[in-house]
């Protein structure tokens, strides 16, 4: 329902729902208010033109056309709505046949529906009109049944989408019958798109009715709807055009009312997330350099990436939320830096900001953001540098390749775009890079499509794409989360090899501490948009000083963890970026937290060994594990 009310607030929705309200109001009240004027005969003014007395003139019996158009609203709308209702009802019954009757009976029904949909709508209407006979009732049935196949197909498609979801499977497993599943689970979940389509459909049905009545198959005298009035008015269209045009205009207005309202709701359903953001955004430069902080020349030649006080903000309602709140770190040549944290900790956003992949309305600020000595904050000038020297590997390799193009061509495209290589050179390099990431038979594989690759191979091909240039930094965002352990091993080894061979730096983002511990030299632990600890990866198990890091390590079972003791858990919920508490963000979940933690946010302090930690109680002993486990965990 939220979507409907939001739809009303758009200009499109305002127009649509305004017209719809007007139409419905007229349909309800016009016969009561003006029923008399519409039927009274003015024998002095038969077939008269527009005048002050009769705004749209009169018909052949001297009845006022303006009032007749208004009064006809009720019948026209009632017919359209009931025909639509029949279409939807029959459509639901037909569409749910495969679910209720099983595949053997359902399939032919859907096959039939698909065949019928192929016929022109008007042909079906006429066919059914002949079957059901002339008159308003026959017309409603005819238009209703003629529209049913379209809704049947829509229902079938929508239902198939919902029926594939796990909650339907879960209901089946608990022994809930098909009928109940349909009513309790499937229909409520397809109701919204169905209603939107029905609303839009009603506009079309209105037109069908006008057509039918116009052909004389619909409403019969003395009853009248807009179509009937058009037919009556057509005979005199050259002398008295308003008699036909006025009801025609009414059809258009009412049709628009239905269409625009449905369209407005459909749009608000489709862009659910974007709407509030867009509405609140005031366009401003995306990368606003912090005042006065120009980057001086780099003295440290090994420095690949230098990030200081990186912030990422999104508009949220009237305010802004900052999922990344001041992150500072450096990556040196050949170094592998891991970023760990729960979902929502800002780890992926940090990486995306570094790779310049955040789009409006995200806003990236930093005191310093340099990649290979170039300041990334001043806009678009670094496309070439980023294109050749920075590679990004995402979690799901299926979505990062275009399924319609050959893998080799997609790799080659990178080289052609950034290195101006010829087509042949680029292809040669693509094959070579696929070989480098140990794709067997790369010449043949390059000509294949992404779906012909296994998950692990796709991920390696993705790394291969990153290697088309001469990357100095690979940003890998959960590169192995979607993969099996054996394949994960191959991909991680791949990254290590690339690193060792060319001195490429790696930023590896993962929620899996054990992966990070194995691959990385250094680990940044993020919580609520901040780095809370920065330590050598080898120290994770025993040398971590922040209670969050220690909890994170203890919560993940590995092949050595004590199977008799309960796993450590972190009570409570991660911080919502919209409500970051005062003081240390982790205080609410921390066993060491005291009043100071809740009031003052601890700064990220650098220790003598260059590790950093942001905690007032860094390194203090934690309460015994069993005490922690005894807390009622509501995670």
């Amino acid at each position: 329902m939220k979507n409907w009310s939001r739809a009303v607030r758009t200009p499109l929705g305002l127009t649509g729902f305004g017209l719809l309200a007007l139409t419905l109001f007229t349909a309800v009240f016009a016969p009561l208010l003006w029923g008399h004027q519409a039927t009274s005969f003015d024998t002095d003014n038969m077939l008269a033109g527009a005048s002050a007395q009769h705004w749209f003139g009169t018909d052949n019996l001297g009845r006022d056309i303006f009032f007749r158009v208004l009064v006809a609203t009720r019948l026209s709308i009632a017919l359209a709505v009931s025909a639509t209702a029949i279409s939807v009802a029959v459509g639901i019954v037909l569409g749910s046949a495969p679910m209720l009757l099983g595949r053997w009976l359902g399939r032919p029904i859907i096959g039939l529906v698909n065949t019928v949909v192929a016929f022109p709508g008007l042909l079906l209407v006429l066919f059914f009109a002949v079957v059901f006979g002339v008159g308003a009732q026959g017309a409603v049935l005819a238009v209703g049944f003629a529209g049913a196949p379209v809704f049947a197909r829509l229902c079938h498609t929508l239902m198939a989408g919902v029926a594939g979801r796990d909650f339907v499977a879960a209901a089946r497993v608990s022994g809930v019958g098909s009928g109940r599943i349909l009513i309790r689970h499937v229909l409520p979940n397809i109701a919204e798109p169905l209603m939107v389509n029905a609303t839009i459909g009603a506009g079309g049905v209105l037109l069908s009715f006008a057509g039918l009545s116009f052909l004389g198959l619909g409403v019969q005298s003395p009853a009248y709807d807009w179509g009937r009035m058009m037919q009556d008015g057509l005979t005199g269209i050259y002398v008295h055009p308003l008699a036909a045009l006025a009801p025609g205009a009414a059809v258009i207005i009412a049709g628009l009312a239905f269409n625009l309202s449905g369209e407005a709701v459909a749009r608000s359903l489709g862009v659910q997330i974007d709407v509030p953001w867009r509405a609140a955004v005031t366009p401003r430069r995306r990368r606003a350099p912090a005042a006065g902080a120009r980057t001086g020349p780099d003295t440290d030649t090994d420095l690949v990436l230098d990030v200081r006080d990186l912030r990422v903000a999104f508009p949220h309602g009237d305010a802004e939320i900052s999922p990344v709140r001041g992150v500072t770190f450096q990556v040196h040549r050949g170094e592998a830096v891991g970023i760990v944290g729960e979902s929502g900790s800002g780890k992926s956003l940090t990486a995306l900001a570094v790779a310049d992949l955040l789009e409006f309305p995200a806003r990236v600020d930093a005191e310093r953001l340099t990649f290979l000595g170039a300041d990334l904050r001043d806009g678009t000038g670094h496309r070439h540098l980023l294109g050749t020297s920075l590679a990004v590997v995402f979690q799901d390799p299926m979505t990062s390749f275009n399924p319609a193009h050959r893998v080799g061509a997609q790799l080659a495209e990178a080289a052609r775009a950034h290195q101006r290589a010829t087509r042949a050179q680029a292809w040669q390099r693509a094959v070579d890079r696929l070989r480098a990431v140990r794709i067997p038979d790369p010449r043949r594989r390059a000509r294949q499509y992404p779906f012909e690759f296994s998950g692990g191979m796709r991920q390696r091909a993705m790394i291969g794409m990153g290697l088309m240039g001469t990357p100095k930094l690979i940003v890998a965002d959960e590169p192995t989360t979607a993969l099996d352990v054996t394949v994960q091993r191959q991909v991680l080894d791949m990254l290590q090899e690339v690193r060792a061979a060319d001195g490429v730096a790696v930023i590896l983002i993962s929620h899996d501490v054990s992966v990070i511990a194995e691959v990385c030299d250094r680990v940044l632990v993020m919580y609520a948009g901040r780095v809370v600890e920065d330590l050598p990866a080898g120290e994770l198990a025993d040398g971590a000083r922040h209670p969050y890091t220690r909890a994170l390590v203890a919560a993940v079972p590995d092949m050595r963890s004590d199977i008799d003791a309960p796993l450590a858990t972190i009570p409570g919920q991660p911080v919502d970026p919209a409500h970051v508490p005062a003081g240390c963000a982790y205080a609410a979940r921390c066993p060491l937290a005291d009043d100071r933690c809740r009031a003052q946010d601890p700064p990220l302090r650098t220790a003598a060994d260059r590790s950093r930690v942001a905690c007032w109680h860094a390194g203090e002993p934690l309460p015994i594990l069993s005490d922690l486990a005894a807390l009622e965990v509501d995670a």
Partner: protein
């Protein structure tokens, strides 16, 4: 509780054989871990047992009798991988759980049963009125567990129930699984691709590869002394973990 046994189970989808003549026993009151790569047929076994996948051959038995896979009373219940998809977004938590109670109950009895189940999975009974959208991933997975328990199952199947969850929550769910197994004496088939997780919860372990079970035995034995090549490969691939203390990297880069 009961013994779930699969004899010669075969699951075929059109031309592909997902499960190839598998024999597997889930002994009374024990957790059996089923590991293997994706596509090895782990989930197909689970779905076949609860009646979501066709059984093309073989037999599924509970305490020696054929397992009912239709009808209202289902002695084997399943918890799905993704708690964001396995709960109806339009239904309250309480309704979702109540729906899975097989016998008809009065309003008050139903409410108290839902409360009991929520309490069992360590959730505040007041959550019954919430919709899934208001819950975190871990809370949703607890609700999914409660729903599975509502059917008073004799055997529970858990299909990758922690892989869609954050690490901080995963531990809590695993603890809960172990507690429930001990308290209720449930027999369980615990499917996961994560060996460390299976090692933590399961007393026996079965390794699947290309639709067949290549190795089966007590967890400690299989992990300490794997007999099958694939099991060895699997073990070698597991990250050594944070407890590994500076793993020797060069030694591992060879196993591809």
């Amino acid at each position: 509780m009961s013994i779930l046994s699969l004899h010669d189970l075969t699951v075929r989808y059109r031309h592909t054989v997902a499960v190839d003549r598998v024999d597997l026993v889930v002994p009374e009151g024990q957790i059996v871990g089923l590991v293997g790569e994706s596509g090895s047929g782990k989930s197909s076994i689970a779905r076949a047992v609860v009646g979501l996948a066709p059984v093309s051959g073989g037999r599924i038995a509970l305490d020696g009798r054929d397992l009912p896979r239709r009808g209202r009373r289902r002695p084997v219940q399943m918890v799905f991988q993704d708690p964001y998809s396995s709960l109806d977004p339009r239904m309250t938590v309480g309704d979702s759980i109540a729906e899975a109670i097989p016998h008809r109950l009065g309003r008050a009895a139903r409410r108290s049963e839902v409360e009991r189940l929520l309490h069992l999975v360590h959730l505040d009974p007041a959550r019954a009125g919430h919709r899934p959208g208001q819950l975190s991933g871990g809370q949703r997975q607890r609700v999914a567990l409660a729903r599975a328990l509502a059917g008073r199952p004799e055997v529970l199947i858990a299909d990758e129930i922690t892989s869609a969850l954050d690490v901080s929550v995963q531990g809590a769910i695993l603890n809960l699984v172990r507690d429930m197994q001990r308290e209720l004496g449930l027999s369980m088939l615990f499917i996961s691709h994560n060996l460390a997780v299976v090692r933590y919860v399961a007393s026996r372990i079965a390794v699947m590869y290309q639709g067949r079970i290549v190795e089966e035995g007590p967890t400690a034995e299989v992990l300490a002394d794997p007999r099958d090549d694939y099991t060895r490969q699997l073990l070698a691939a597991v990250p050594t973990g944070a407890g590994g203390r500076r793993p020797v990297r060069s030694a591992e880069s060879g196993c591809d």
